[in-house]
Structures are given as structure tokens and as C-alpha cells.
Symmetry: C2
Amino acid sequence: MTIGIIGLGLIGGSMAIDLKNALDTIRLVGYDANEHHRTKALALGLVDHVVENPEALSACHVIILAIPVNHIPAVAVHMLDVCSDNTIILDAGSTKGALCKAIAQHPKRKNVVAAHPIAGTENSGPEAALAKLFAGKTNIICEKEKSSAEALQQALLIFDTLGMHTIYMDAEEHDKHVAYVSHLSHVSSFLLGLTVLDIEKDEKNIATLAGSGFASTVRLAKSSPDMWAPIFEQNMEYLSQALQEYIIHLQRFQYHLLKRDRTELHKTMQEANAIRRILQGIENKNQK
Amino acid sequence: MTIGIIGLGLIGGSMAIDLKNALDTIRLVGYDANEHHRTKALALGLVDHVVENPEALSACHVIILAIPVNHIPAVAVHMLDVCSDNTIILDAGSTKGALCKAIAQHPKRKNVVAAHPIAGTENSGPEAALAKLFAGKTNIICEKEKSSAEALQQALLIFDTLGMHTIYMDAEEHDKHVAYVSHLSHVSSFLLGLTVLDIEKDEKNIATLAGSGFASTVRLAKSSPDMWAPIFEQNMEYLSQALQEYIIHLQRFQYHLLKRDRTELHKTMQEANAIRRILQGIENKNQK
């Protein structure tokens, strides 16, 4: 089986490592719009071959789109146009509404599996690729009923090989949920980082006081703007709702703070402590 | 040498473990207003003895105050009143302005060293005490010039034994800096947790999508309200400034988001990426 990977960064590269290690008989062919990424991915042995244009992948059995979400809808449509009737196309994008809309009327819609394997690090590029990045994590497939049985079977073979647990969801429901549990935490981290960088201009050496708690909270501010700007833009409607709720919570806290209302501050934090339950769930998942 | 520890939770307990392991000849006597903490600390072997009132520590050579910051100023004044002229008093509070103001006119001011050893976890109580919690971390001493040479020497012996690197700072400067690099990240985390808990009421199973990025950003939301409500209240002026700046940054981001202005979103995140430098500094410190 030949698998084509479009996008040889953290996600595409990490998938390549695990697929190659697990499946002896597959051949991995890669494409990336960035020439440096192509050269690097080949040098690192992430893929067996690279090609210089995506059309050269048209005969692959499966094509995985691991590119920024703003490119996924158009590339998915283009690849459907140029590929054989049997080529299965998967994606790994963090938003699903735009892709599902773009391919909705395509005669080969059933060859696409709209997926979101939830895994990543704050690093990017082929050098950031890691073995077992996906193991034990959750994968989401949207609009399952619009993919053919064969396409779903191929997709599950791949996600199962990566060690993922697949669940199914409506595309809009997916986009709303990830706005809250993934996109918002990136926004909160980026802006916390910026706030501290700003004050540092006036208060030299302020960073010497930063400890491991700060490091944990701000870690996602290292994430790639090339990847995240398109995600935020594409998920604008749900993310702006989530962000608005977050700002309202912060402003209410600010109000209690200005009044030095320790009782209300305490109550708010005690409510937030219930997050332990969700964190425990994440830990259990990662230990599986 | 006899060291008295008032407050047998995460901080007092962790100090006790390291001091006991390092200094053969000391005797550790503990007090905690919470009877359960006293019993537990003794059962865990954190201290050699416990006493039932803080006055019973008046003959100690050194007394460490490891209690919530709202109690520190009054307890410091009280212990100065009841202790011998030679007893040195240290504290471990996250705010320093209120303590320094409360003891400023006390005839035995020179016996106090106002300190902030920057270390902790999101857990609390004697059971949360850890060996080496302070090793390699930064300790801040404020108003050094108002402590006697002997008091400073005793304090440094203790903080050096814990493996800390001590720096000196003005109390107001300290409170402003920690508002940005510590207190604000706790607030951002508590309210992020609350935002997600809120939406979860309407969107069942949303938490199944949360991954390690969310876990990292929201980890501090597990922190103790009993510890943090008094810190926030005491550092209200600087924390409310920091929080206001954070909210303004979030609102500006929200504005660019609503306009789907990918260029501005990208620019903002790219600026935030400079946080890598500060994070690298924290990592280097923790590896020392």
C-alpha cells in the first residue's frame, strides 16, 4: 500500500514514523510546499520518497492531509479532482466545519474521511516529529455517514495503527467543543505570555521570578502562529464565544478583586477546583 | 538549634523534610492551627514535636512562618512580642508589602527576615510535603537592610540548606513582579477552568476532547483557594493592574478575531513566541 502525506511537519512527520514502524509493507511518499521541509523529511527518513507537486500522489491508496487548516478544504477538493476513484483522503485538521462544507457536493465526497487526531506539541516542522505522539490519544471522525465503508475502514486502520481511540461527532459540535478545550487554552496562553513580555520592558529581570507554575500555564504560547492563525480564523464563531465567556469570567473576578471580596474570590476558585476531575480523565487517558 | 515551624502544610512540611535531612543537630517543633495537620505532620515524621499554641515556640532559635499570607503580619508581630530577643523569624509568604508594613515600627524588626522562597505545587496540606521542593529555585529576601546581620545569616543558612538561590528586592517591587509572573497565571488558569466547566453543563462529554495542552494550561486551577484568596486580596493593587492588562490583550485579540484578521492574529502570536526565552531560563534554573 502506498500512503501519500501532504505536509511533512510535526503531525505528518509523526504519523509517518509510527506508520512505517508498524506496517512493513507500506511505502510512504511525501509532499510539502516548503522545499526545506521536503529535504529535511527525506534526510530524517520520515518518508521513503518525496515528490515536487501534490498531483504526483494521485495514484496513492491513501492520502493524508497534514497541513494548516486554511489550506485543507481547497487541497482536499483538488486531490479529489485529480486522484483515482479509489484513493482515500484523510485529514488531520483541528477544525472540521470548513472542510465538510467544501467537499459536501463533490461527487467523490465518500472517499474523504474528515478526522482530527488530537495530539501535538508546541513545536513544529519535520524536526519536531516524534514516535508515539498519537498513542493513547483521542481521534475524532466527523460526518462518518458521508464516508464510504471502505474509506472508514482504511482510516481506522491508520488511526488504530497510531494507537488512537476514535470517536464520532457532528462537524459543528466538534468545532464548538475544540474551541473551548483546545483553542481557548492556546489563546489564554499566548496572551498571558504577551502580558508578561510587555511588563518586562519596564520591569527588568522580572522573569527571574518566574517558576514552574508560570512555565506550565504559558507553555502553549510557544506554538506556531502559522498553524494557529488559520485555525482561529476558521473557528472564529465558536472561539469568539468561548473567549467572550472567558473574558466575562476574568472581569467578574477582577470586580471581586477590586472590592477585596475574599469570600467571592474563594468561592470562584473552589468552583474552578472541580477541574481536577477533567484533569484526572486526561491523565488516565495518557497512561493507557 | 531548635527551629519552630508555624504552618505544617506543603511549604512548612517540605522545608521540614529538607532541613531535617541536612542538619543532624536541629530539633524541629511544629504548630498548626488545624489540629488534623498537627497530628498528620507528626505521624509523617515531618517534625520532632508539635505544640498546641504558637507561644510554646517562644524559645526557639528560629521560627518559620509558613501560613496563608493574611495571617502572616499579625502572627509575625505577635511572635516578636512573645519571643526572646534572640529569636529570628522568617516567613515564606508570596506577598511582602503587608508584612513589611506591619512590623516596620516594631522594636524587634531587625529579628525578622521577610522572605519568599518561590516553590510550590498545586497540592496542599502536610501530605503534599515533598523533599527537594526548593532545590535550585529562587528565594527573595525583601528589605534586607532592616534585618540584623545575624538574622540574615541564619536565614541564609536555612535557604542555602534548602538549595535555594537568594536574591534581594524591595517589598513593593517584589509584589508587583510576582503579580505578573505568578499570581496572574493562577488567575488565568482558575478562570479558564471555570469557563470549560461552565460550557460542560450544556455540552456533555466536552472534556473527552481535552488533551495535554489544556491540562498544562489549567493545572494551576487545582490550587488551594485557602492559600490563594488571601494572596490575591493582599496583592490587589498590583494584581488588578496585571489582570487589566491581560484582559485588554485578550479583548484586542478578540477584536482581530471577530474581523478574521489573520495577519494581526499571526503577528500577536509571533510576538508571544518570544516567551521561549523566559521558558528556557526557567528550564535552565530547574536543571541546575
